[in-house]
Assembly symmetry: C2
Homo-oligomer: 321 residues x 2
């Protein structure tokens, strides 16, 4: 089973922590059996080779990480000269992927997390979504090629099954970059937006922020991933699915640190002078709902919608061009 998650976040929103929290493992540590690859669009064949061998030299990949990058520089060099700080002035979005084996409910899951360091981090972030969209498209293309071969017995599915988009917890509204990215991605990937580091918001602030975000996304015509209802679903199941969907965007907290909570129990959380935020406590944040949505309940649905709807749309658009 493959699960390929695209994780889009500006630096500092707790992305690495959240991924490790979701899978209960430090997936960015190669000693845990992870392959770290700098998978810019040129390298996709290299990933495929590594998947077959599963023996990429960790030294070599660790060297490559962070040095290879796809710059979406607009060629607007006049910006650079006014500033002397050309590297950080223009968007410099890199695509990095980490693959590892996760055990989920006794099943081995081959997880790949595709990260986008540099997104939203520059002074000028114009078109910073382009390398990311390119990455998603190239994974569709790779699948298209594989489908067209004579021997199709085993096709590696490297397509993105879900996009986790990290929203900064300003408590006001989505920023222009957030909206632009969501509009670019939602018809190519199952989009699951989350409010990052939501322990900065009170319960009322979370409610009002969620309402504003939902309204902005609706007005922009952005579709979020919604698990389908099945004919044989009972009322309870349908109700649960809808309740989960209505919690979007999930307001989450991530932590792999263990702390002792008010009841003396050791839990994952963050310790402040005024109290302990518990990751797995549904009264403290939506982490458990995100985990159910993305990892536990709807893996099949995420993959099916990718294959039957998102990939098919891409394919027919490409073939009719």
């Amino acid at each position: 089973f493959n699960l390929n998650i695209l994780c889009v976040s500006q630096t500092g929103l707790g992305k690495s922590t959240l991924i490790n929290t979701l899978f209960n493992k430090n997936i960015y540590n190669e000693e845990n059996g992870s392959n770290i690859v700098n998978s810019t669009t040129d390298n996709l064949d290299k990933i495929k080779l590594e998947d077959d061998n599963n023996t990429i030299s960790n030294e070599e990949s660790a060297e490559n990480t962070n040095t290879d990058n796809v710059s979406s520089n607009n060629g607007n060099n006049k910006h650079n000269s006014s500033n002397g700080n050309s590297e950080s002035n223009q968007p410099n979005v890199r695509i990095e992927s980490v693959s590892t084996i996760i055990e989920e409910n006794g099943v081995n899951l081959r997880l790949t997390v595709v990260d986008t360091p540099g997104f939203g981090d520059s002074i000028d972030n114009t078109n910073s979504w382009e390398p990311i969209i390119k990455e998603v498209d190239s994974r569709f293309d790779q699948y298209l090629d594989a489908e067209n071969r004579i021997n199709r017995s085993v096709i590696e599915d490297n397509r993105i099954h879900a996009c986790l988009y990290f929203i900064e917890p300003t408590a006001h509204f989505l920023k222009p970059l957030d909206l632009e990215f969501c509009k670019q991605i939602h018809e190519k990937c199952n989009l699951i937006p989350i409010i990052a580091k939501s322990d900065i918001l009170t319960e009322e602030e979370i409610d009002s922020f969620k309402r504003k975000i939902t309204k902005q996304l609706q007005e922009a015509g952005v579709k979020l991933f919604k698990p389908p209802h099945y004919e044989l679903d009972d009322k309870e199941t349908i109700k649960l699915t809808d309740e989960l969907y209505n919690k979007l965007p999930f307001a989450v907290v991530g932590s792999t640190d263990l702390v002792v909570n008010g009841e003396g129990k050791q839990v994952r959380g963050r310790s402040y002078p005024w109290g302990i935020v518990e990751v797995d406590n549904a009264n403290h944040n939506d982490f458990v709902y995100l985990r159910d949505y993305l990892v536990r309940q709807y893996l099949e649905e995420l993959r099916e919608r990718t294959n039957n709807e998102l990939y098919e749309n891409y394919r027919s658009e490409k073939l009719t061009k």
Copy 2:
């Protein structure tokens, strides 16, 4: 006594809340006797007139707020066309000022807070500091003109006495825009950087973040406001001054809401499911230190350094050009 504070922050970092917390008054509410003016550089004469009359029509100024703006558009319209969202793509930094009377220690203080809505909020924030630097310079120019008049008996001091710079609490490092702005402003204003919404950070994260920020600022040659030592200061005073300075950037929390804390006492704070952050509790955040630094202990020092050092440098540079 005039105190003019320049408040530079991207939207959503709690700027309005913090200002109201510092002065224990909703200064943005005109019913509290505030003058709200959209003081772009063209309007500085208008402010002066209003100060004299103190009767600007509140309806008119409320209308003007948010409609007048100084765009630091680089004329790079090719960005706009690729995006269809031209307003938010380019920097659109407005200068707004709010003036009000504050009573501090039995003394009436004429406070002016100059805000910079739009700073850091666009997809492309190149040169978004320019309208702000222009504002600071034009206030120096206004003072220069007043000094050159024949009748100099009363000079209104509209120069910026302190710049409060809001750092996003990512816990990683200063962003390129932060560094660029600090480099542009520190030789024109007393710079006091703060980590906004610091209740998102644990105590260890605050310590390590402060160390990184301090290092980055030092390496960039940025000077922060440091109260001087006086000959007659005793050891204790010198020690306290240095301790305050060493807490920079202050990691603050703002709130005008009253909540009941663990001891049943009514305090200003934020109420979370896992506990209450208290604004005025030095164990919870640096608010009381910021308040001492900016409002209680060093008003004279802030004004003196502005007059004797920052303004003098500006004046001699201008006159030697």
